[in-house]
């Protein structure tokens, strides 16, 4: 990108970063204040005020698209712009090792800080949440698959394993997949990269993942039995904030540090994948 073109992205990147960080910090702050005061979380109330029909319709779109992306990528197809093309992921021992490494680090990372409670019975510090977009950005589909498996392992350790975990599996795949697929530059060494990071990895990734899982929990209500108000009025906004806050504050810097190391090792996804136009 030209110096002039690069400069044009500095202001939008700064604006989107400030907005996204402010939203996630404000969300966490209101959660803390409202929970401490014993009143309903205002974000949850706002989410629920949009109505179940709204979330069912919007969530359905997110869910169908997300599921198509998951199976399409696994089936060896992807899109470039609006064109559907074939891709060749090697799935050799290196790709398998990358996916297994991501699964172990993400699954273990989500659970290892369990017990460092912020609000008893509600949440704890989960710094590993920031790893999912990084794994996607650096390792592509093997990283996204590792993230999905890692979340499944964490569900078991945290005591949340159930049929709802299938939604968490694909939801966390998307959390890694969205920045991998939609960011133009994963090096984090340009203003455009930071703009894309805050837009796709933090904002859209977190929201998509939360809505995907929530919709799955909603349609499985007869089996799982979670109240609709809890799903859309607490769980969904909570997952957005929980994913977004560490990703917004620390994730970008970590991606900046890790990119040259991964690239030097020849593990960056773009150096290992082939596309058939």
């Amino acid at each position: 990108m030209s110096v002039k073109g690069e400069k044009a992205w500095v202001v939008p990147a700064a604006i989107v970063a400030v907005i996204v960080i402010a939203i996630s910090v404000y969300g966490a702050y209101t959660f803390y204040v409202d929970s401490a005061a014993g009143r309903p979380w205002r974000w949850g109330t706002w989410f629920w005020s949009l109505g179940r029909s709204f979330w069912l319709a919007v969530g359905g779109i997110f869910w169908i698209l997300g599921t198509i992306f998951f199976f399409m990528e696994l089936g060896g197809y992807t899109f470039k712009g609006l064109k559907l093309i074939r891709q060749r992921i090697k799935w050799d021992s290196i790709d398998i090792a990358i996916a297994a490494l991501c699964a172990a680090v993400y699954g273990g990372g989500l659970t290892v800080t369990g017990g460092l409670t912020i609000i008893p019975g509600f949440t704890w510090i989960r710094p590993a949440n920031m790893l999912s977009p990084i794994f996607g950005m650096l390792f592509g589909i093997p990283g996204a698959i590792g993230t999905a498996v890692g979340n499944f392992i964490a569900d078991s350790l945290a005591g949340y394993l159930g049929i709802g975990s299938i939604g968490g599996f694909v939801g966390n795949f998307l959390l890694a997949y969205i920045p991998y697929k939609f960011m133009k530059d994963h090096s984090m060494r340009s203003a455009r990269a930071w703009f894309d990071y805050y837009l796709w990895a933090v904002l859209i990734g977190s929201v998509w993942c939360a809505i995907y899982i929530s919709w799955w929990l909603d349609v499985l209500h007869p089996v799982i039995g979670l109240p609709y108000e809890f799903i859309w009025g607490f769980f969904c906004p909570f997952v957005v904030v929980n994913n977004a806050i560490v990703t917004a504050i620390v994730g970008g810097v970590l991606a900046y540090i890790l990119y040259p190391i991964v690239k030097q090792w020849g593990l960056y996804w773009a150096d290992r994948i082939e596309f058939e136009e």
Partner: protein
Amino acid sequence: MAQMTILLGLGVIMIVAGVALLYGLKRRVGAALMLMGGGWIFTMLLYGFLKWKGLYGVNPAEAGYIHNIIALILIIVGLVGGIYWIKKAKG
């Protein structure tokens, strides 16, 4: 229990499909399916172990932080094993 049976069944299906794709149809994506299936079965074993020990769903502080210790071991084994495997594969 029925939910766990479904999850276990899905894990087994993924492994069987992965083996069929990788060794039968010579499709490399089978390795990815086997990895996912393996991850599922590992998770179910972890669940079974915690349930058997009466630690499943128990607050970490009450369980002596056993979940945290398992998670830490998982990170170390995953990192060391993954890096060793990658280095070995790269020669």
